[in-house]
Symmetry: C2
DNA sequence: CTCCAAAATAAGAATCATTCGCATTTGCAT
DNA sequence: ATGCAAATGCGAATGATTCTTATTTTGGAG
């Protein structure tokens, strides 16, 4: 499951060398079903005894985003960027404003909308970003607490 | 048009004092149909001969966001936050990845979706953020240029 | 109108995420 | 096995945003 070359072929399609750091980082992203910050990735890699520097984490992420293997997003409220694999099915996340948990939701309500934008404004959509905020099932009763 | 107390009543509803800085900042946001960064606001205020410090711009924006008068958003690709008035009709923006222009689009495709999230996941939506990326009409022919 | 306490602002230091520079190491084609 | 380009480590640099403290302004009470 946790081979050191698991992502060799993927990396090769981007003309990227297969290094232990890149493989471990991709594996960590894959194991986490949810988007992670650079620092979270850094810490999880350390837990796996992968010796890596934080700037390398950032550099690898930048490279993978450029190649389209990873998606970077940034919450309106947060200062840190989030990263997740892009080879999965298109989906979005629900952000609970109370417990801060993130819930993935398969599917996307925007396909028709993108066509409408093309028709009405001549805008050629290449991607989008959707964050939904609110209260998750467990927290909805505490909506007043602040 | 450009009275110094134009937003006095609005500010009062938030228990905020009516200061020249807050009025001028709100006026500047209103005059710009598009979201602005803190620094852009700072510069536009200087052009209007409003003497203000950048940290005050940030502090006022934070206050207005807390009160719900201003909406803060952050692009997945960008490092700077964007601010716009929230008393207008709900809308979204198209971001041209080539010329960097921002195009507002009235309306929102997500109303039904939010109800679906409530029904299926018990998630109580309080807000959302949608960025759409692509090529505007003028730039779409240069999609290959990079 | 004057005075006061609370709120707001200026100025710049501090913080935090992210990027950069350069010396060293590693992957991989030959 | 060898060499060179690509990748990494480490710490310094950057840039947006926040914080600290002294000073000024606002809005209400008298």
């Amino acid at each position: 499951m946790s081979g050191k070359d698991t992502y060799k072929d993927l990396l090769k399609t981007g003309n990227l060398k297969s290094t232990k750091h890149r493989n471990a980082l991709l594996e960590t992203l894959e194991q986490s079903g949810l988007p992670l910050t650079a620092e979270e990735l850094f810490l999880r890699l350390k837990e796996k005894n992968v010796s890596i520097s934080l700037s390398t984490v950032y550099r690898i992420l930048e490279t993978l985003v450029d190649k389209g293997f990873v998606i970077r997003s940034q919450l309106a409220t947060g200062n840190k960027a989030l990263y997740e694999l892009s080879h999965k099915d298109h989906h979005h996340h629900l952000h609970c404003v109370r417990c801060r948990q993130i819930f993935p939701v398969d599917g996307c309500p925007l396909e028709d909308y993108e066509q409408l934008l093309a028709d009405r404004f001549g805008f050629t959509v290449t991607g989008h970003n959707l964050e939904v905020f609110g209260y998750c099932e467990k927290c909805k009763d505490h909506k007043q607490d602040g």
